[in-house]
């Protein structure tokens, strides 16, 4: 088990009801973790419409999750 920090933005923030949380998880990758959290919180966005950031840089859904990581699941962007 490891503990990671998750920050939520935009639609995910509203659906989760918080801007950030710490989660202790057995998930091995950001992809596995999102699958678990999506079920738990009924996030409407499927993983293939998101990107993931690990420690403030774009990362891979298959990366190995490490204790202390900060994750952001990035909804489709809409700047400008």
């Amino acid at each position: 088990m490891k503990t990671v920090r998750i920050q939520y933005f935009a639609l995910l923030r509203e659906q989760r009801g918080v801007s950030e949380e710490s989660v202790t998880t057995g998930a091995g990758s950001p992809g596995e973790l999102y699958r678990d959290l999506r079920k738990l919180h009924r996030f409407t966005l499927p993983q293939d419409r998101l990107r993931v950031a690990i420690n403030e840089a774009f990362g891979s859904w298959d990366a190995e999750l490490r204790d202390g990581d900060t994750l952001v699941f990035i909804p489709p962007v809409a700047g400008g």
Partner: protein, 148 residues
């Protein structure tokens, strides 16, 4: 070269002065403004939200790419966050170069890439009280693949 997020109103004249260069013969700017309508619905207001650290990193990367690809002297991009109403300036891009071709091309590149890649989100508030996070629908007319 700088990418900036700010929660206060943008001043295009001051931003352009920041790019002043006597070698520059051409400066092109893009102003993205809040429209009063979106796909047929009246828009009363918008909220912009950004993931600051990554938005800045990705924005600076886009400006560096523009500098590599086009013969420009300077470029900047500033994006608003917070609550905006129709007519407000949401994003400003400015590029200066010796000749006009690269300034036009780099300005277009920067705004296109910013809209596609920088983690900034927009929530529209419509007449009547409905809201929507743009590009985030998973059913209904705005979902990907929906409609004709």
């Amino acid at each position: 070269m700088s990418f900036t997020l700010t929660d206060t109103p943008l001043d295009p004249a001051a931003l352009m002065r920041g790019l002043a260069d006597v070698r520059a013969g051409a400066c092109v700017s893009f102003e993205g403004r809040v429209r009063n309508h979106s796909e047929g619905s009246r828009v009363d207001a918008l909220d912009y939200e950004a993931y600051g650290p990554l938005a800045r990193t990705e924005g600076e990367r886009i400006l560096a790419e523009a500098r590599e690809r086009f013969a420009i002297l300077g470029a900047a991009c500033v994006h608003r966050t917070g609550h905006l109403v129709p007519g407000d300036l949401a994003v400003w891009v400015g590029v200066c170069s010796a000749h006009r071709g690269p300034a036009f091309e780099a300005c277009r590149y920067i705004i296109d890439e910013t809209k596609a890649r920088v983690p900034i989100w927009k929530k529209e508030h419509y007449a009547g009280g409905a809201t929507e996070w743009i590009n985030c629908a998973t059913r209904g007319p705005h979902a990907p693949g929906a409609g004709p």
